[in-house]
């Protein structure tokens, strides 16, 4: 048997698909299910379960190449996030007597890979003492919410997870694969998604790899995936676990993500300011519900100024910031604002009548791409960083008879141009040119732009530690300069 790369299937995963797989696997982690929570993670939107991709690949091969030998070892690697709404395809890259390799293609690159090796039959599962997973000391877990496990608690985790649904649901979702490989194995493999996403590492996790061997018998309990942490490495926040279920043994690898970035509290900001330093400031902060906008709002408010912060999707985040500012005695209003939509229907003249405008509107910045330049991506960035900025500056200047100072955050990436950030850097640079032009041509309008270094926000968070500066140190002098 030999086959060149062939596209076996193409689809777009929907929110309904997410719900269906979550119900089947038991993995309800918000990164898969909640668009507002997912926007605070590295991919910036809901992510398709990696194991769903793996099972889809195996199902596609089973459908298009019937009669294959038993799938004895299955290795799946989840290399790039696939988001809800992405168009993805299964490519069969290699098929021969030994096995096959299939890939998920998304955005012109490989997002996941499945490597399956064939065998003549399923050997008996190794004896219990050969795979260091013990019978769970208590009833298997049935989790309805992902556990926010601290990394230092991970190494001693072990136990059992109840399979979320009966095997016949596996048959409904992956009929040919279940016929070939058994519904019990499909359900157990799906349950590893719940292990990673709900239990260990839990809430803040990334499933990176699974390697299992199909065998005959072998589970410690029917309907239970047993697990034990093999290794938790704090250098990389990586976790490896042994897993065992009816018909399967193997290992699962995952990373413990950093939780969403929390910015400084009001009291921590206030101690850097002179009393009532910004008492004459009326500010409008676009994107003030988190990240740099949140820190800026706290700086102005802690200095006695009035802030109006806007959010696009993060109402809860905006309410949190408002609550914190008000609890500290500050003045803060909130409102919804979409930087891509007309200004006048969203913000009234009273809201726009400010002395300072801070523009932190942005799409998700870091996403996989293919090729040197993506015109669509540049257009999206330009709509935020150029067109959206222009509309708002003009509208706010018209509503502000005392004149208006605007801060536009550009980026060091305009100079550095790291790989994959061409369109972002171009759009930021175009925004800088617009700022200079507006300052020159619009009376009473002063637009300051500054190339900011990488600062600690959700957009820069990574599971690897890196030298990223705290925003306050960078933003405070800029806020002060707007008042001069």
């Amino acid at each position: 048997m030999n086959a060149a790369s062939a596209i076996l299937a193409t689809r777009v995963f929907s929110a309904r698909d997410q719900a269906q797989f979550a119900a089947f696997s038991g993995d309800w982690n918000p990164i898969h299910m909640d668009p507002v929570a997912a926007r605070r993670t590295h991919p910036g939107s809901q992510v398709v379960h990696g194991v769903h991709l793996l099972l889809w690949m195996m199902e596609a091969v089973s459908v298009h190449r019937p009669g294959l030998p038993p799938f004895v070892t299955v290795t799946g690697a989840f290399e790039q996030f696939v988001c809800v709404g992405d168009t993805v395809s299964v490519l069969l890259r290699r098929l021969d007597a030994a096995g096959f390799i299939a890939e998920i293609a998304a955005h012109g690159s490989r997002a996941a890979v499945a490597s399956v090796k064939f065998g003549q039959s399923y050997l008996p599962c190794p004896p219990l003492d050969a795979v260091p997973v013990q019978a769970p000391p208590c009833a298997p877990l049935r989790l309805t919410e992902a556990v926010p496990l601290a990394f230092e608690d991970i190494s001693r985790q072990q136990g059992g997870l109840a399979l979320a649904s009966p095997p016949d649901l596996a048959t409904a979702l992956f009929p040919r694969l279940c016929q070939h490989w058994s519904a019990a194995r499909v359900a157990a493999l799906a349950c590893t998604s719940a292990l990673v996403g709900m239990a260990c590492p839990g809430l803040h996790s990334i499933y990176s790899k699974v390697a299992v061997t199909a065998c005959a018998g072998g589970g410690l309990e029917d309907g239970v995936l047993s697990f034990a942490v093999k290794r938790a490495d704090p250098r990389f926040r990586s976790v490896q676990m042994y897993v065992r279920a009816q018909g399967l043994t193997g290992t699962v690898s995952a990373m413990a993500r950093m939780p969403p970035v929390s910015q400084l509290r009001m009291a921590e900001v206030a101690c850097h300011l002179a009393e009532a330093e910004f008492a004459t400031v009326r500010s409008l902060i676009i994107g003030g519900s988190r990240g740099l906008g949140e820190v800026t709002a706290k700086i102005v408010a802690a200095g006695g100024g009035q802030v109006f912060i806007t959010y696009n999707r993060g109402l809860e985040d905006a309410l949190r910031v408002q609550s914190e500012i008000r609890a500290a005695g500050g003045l803060c209003e909130i409102g919804h604002y979409d930087a891509l939509a007309p200004v006048g229907v969203q913000l009234d003249a009273r809201t726009l009548n400010v002395t300072q405008l801070y523009y932190f509107a942005t799409p998700h910045i870091s996403r996989p791409k293919h090729g040197q330049y993506d015109a669509e991506r540049f257009a999206e960035f330009a709509e935020f960083y150029v067109n959206g900025l222009y509309r708002l500056c003009i509208a706010a200047r018209e509503a502000s008879p005392e004149g208006l100072a605007v801060f536009y955050p550009s980026s060091e990436f305009v100079d550095e141009r790291p790989s994959g950030m061409t369109e972002y850097a171009m759009a930021k640079a175009a925004g800088e040119v617009l700022c200079a032009q507006l300052s020159r041509d619009v009376p009473g309008l002063r637009v300051i732009s500054s190339r900011l270094p990488r600062l600690s926000t959700d957009q820069t968070a990574s599971f690897l530690s890196s030298d990223i500066a705290e925003p306050l140190e960078t933003l405070l002098p800029l806020v002060r300069s707007l008042g001069r």
Binding site: E79, S109, I206, S208, R235, F236, L464
Partner: protein
């Protein structure tokens, strides 16, 4: 362990990590030369190296790696 033994075993490791058998390891090969070699793959490579060669790399050593030759050199220094 000889240099050629290290490269032979590293090659097998890279083929396993990347699911490709066309990667040819040379001392000056860097992450930029291999599609998909990002920070997560880097972590996987380091963990596999430690397991397969029975060595342990410090954070400082990991941070100093720029090319495959650096990794091979470290392995030869540390592996028995």
């Amino acid at each position: 362990m000889t240099e050629s033994e290290v490269y032979e075993r590293l090659t097998e490791l890279f083929h396993d990590v990347f699911f490709r058998d066309d990667i040819v390891l040379k001392p000056d090969l860097t992450a930029a030369d291999v599609t998909g070699w990002d920070s997560m793959k880097q972590v996987e490579i380091i963990l596999c190296v430690e397991e397969r060669f029975d060595v342990k790399l410090t954070t400082k050593e990991v941070d100093s790696l720029r090319k495959v030759g650096d990794l091979a050199g470290l392995i030869m220094k540390k592996a028995v």
